[in-house]
């Protein structure tokens, strides 16, 4: 006998191709006899029968007391930023978007750890999300380098370690050159934050940041400070490289509750000349 009462949840945290996923899911769910509810606020008013509620936030599903088997969290490969936010010159909305999207993904892994599906799993084939409902993903779309790097950075929740490439950080310099996996910046200017970001929400625990930074001869004589931690409390390390070369800076910080993370590199003195190369940060859980 066919199942006539199913109240399912599909969580899709913010991503560049979220509209494509929603359109594709809506069409396939409707064909499968589901009423698709696009707003969690309407979930209680749904008529009895088969419903599929779409939401970006796992917390909304959890609050209803739904069983994990009736929830699927879907992670796109496109990265967390919409095209508009990705292109915005003002970094603040982008930082907020990364913080929100990462927190939703974090909650997905925390609340429904066995129910997280990655878009890679849908490559050309349908995946069975629930009994009686299999899903075929939409055609993949191209995404920006920053979104690709952010997507990799967000793998922190699945593996307890991740590489945060230079593209997930903001760089403060007049002349910035992005190469494949590193960014070279002209140090000329006043004391300032050279590198900061990415505001990904970290799960509670002790995390180590291992940053690789290259200093040219003129920049090696300056004093720097590296910060790692939450935005208001963090661990700092002061250093002066003294010679040119690539250096590794390791700093640990313990989050007592989930909150947005920030890695920063500060130049503590005015600089006339030289180049600093930033190769990104390896993030590892150490406790």
């Amino acid at each position: 006998m066919p199942n006539t009462k199913q109240h399912l949840w599909l969580i899709i945290p913010p991503c560049a191709d979220r509209d494509d996923w929603v359109a594709s899911i809506t069409a396939q769910a409707t064909d499968a006899g589901f009423t698709v509810i696009n707003s969690a606020a309407d979930a209680n008013t749904a008529a009895l029968g088969k419903t599929l509620t779409l939401s970006p936030d796992p917390e909304e599903a959890r609050k209803t007391g739904v069983q994990a088997k009736d929830v699927a969290v879907l992670l796109s490969t496109s990265g967390p930023l919409s095209a508009k936010l990705d292109a915005d010159n003002d970094p603040a909305p982008r930082h907020t978007a990364v913080k929100n999207a990462s927190d939703f993904i974090r909650r997905g892994y925390a609340f429904f750890p066995d129910r997280v599906f990655k878009a890679e799993d849908f490559a050309g084939t349908s995946v069975k999300l629930f009994p009686g409902f299999s899903l075929l993903g939409p055609p993949s779309t191209s995404t920006s380098n920053r979104n690709r790097a952010l997507k990799e950075a967000l793998s922190i929740y699945a593996a307890d370690h991740a590489f945060w490439g230079s593209e997930v950080f903001d760089i403060n310099a007049k002349d910035v050159r992005h190469n494949k996996e590193e960014v070279a910046l002209d140090l000329t200017g006043r004391p300032r934050f050279l590198i900061f970001g990415p505001y990904i929400v970290m799960p509670a625990g002790r995390w180590k940041a291992v940053a690789r930074i290259g200093f040219s001869a003129p920049t090696a004589r300056h004093q720097y400070r590296a910060d790692w931690g939450a935005q208001d409390t963090y661990t700092s390390h002061h250093f002066r490289p003294e010679r040119e070369g690539v250096f590794q800076v390791e700093i640990e910080y313990e989050w007592d509750k989930p909150s947005a993370s920030e890695f920063r590199l500060l130049l503590l003195e005015g600089a006339f000349d030289g180049e600093v190369t930033f190769f990104g940060v390896e993030i590892v859980r150490v406790g």
Binding site: T188, G189, R190, P191, R221, E269, G270, A271, F272, D273
Partner: protein, 222 residues
Amino acid sequence: MALEEPGLRVLDVSKKFKSSKRPVFKDVNFDLGRSGRLALLGRNGQGKSTLIQMLGGIMPPSTGKIEWNMTTSWPIGFAGGFQGSLSGLDNVRFLSRLYKRDYKETLARVDDFAELGKALREPVKHFSSGMRARLAFGLSLAIEFDCYLIDELVAVGDARFQRKCQEGLFEDRGHCAFLMASHDTNLITRYCDRALIIESGKAKIFDDIKEAVEVYTWLRAA
């Protein structure tokens, strides 16, 4: 509307003395507008005075071009242009002719500004360095240039005379361009809107004068 041609254009200018293996600086490029105020910053020995003397035509660049489209003073603070055996008065007369100015009017203005009185009748070679600087400064203001080259204003006279110089230069001639080498960061911040920093043979333009002063302050402390 066509953009106004800059009053000064410095193109790929380098300077190397025969006695030295390395150039004082190389590939210096910048423009100065007709009312632009450019600071020249750098530690001692980096080539500020050399550049000012090149701009004033006292020494040539080794390579590159300096194009003036406005009249420029000799470097104020540099009193090397006087004929020492001539009196102050004769030097005023000579420069009045050279710059096609009325002698009596020029002398009156120099006398009023430089406050040298009867000493102007003495040969310049008997002047103290302060007196020579006063004469040079007074003459450069009396002749009136479109642009003033200033090499360390603090060297001219006592505190009262320095105030007088600053008023005469920066306030009474607020419409003029000037290029000023100085270690006085307060003076630079107050009167300049851009800066050229020279360090270890390199020169960089800073469009933010406060940023330039911060960078220079670190260079000086390092």
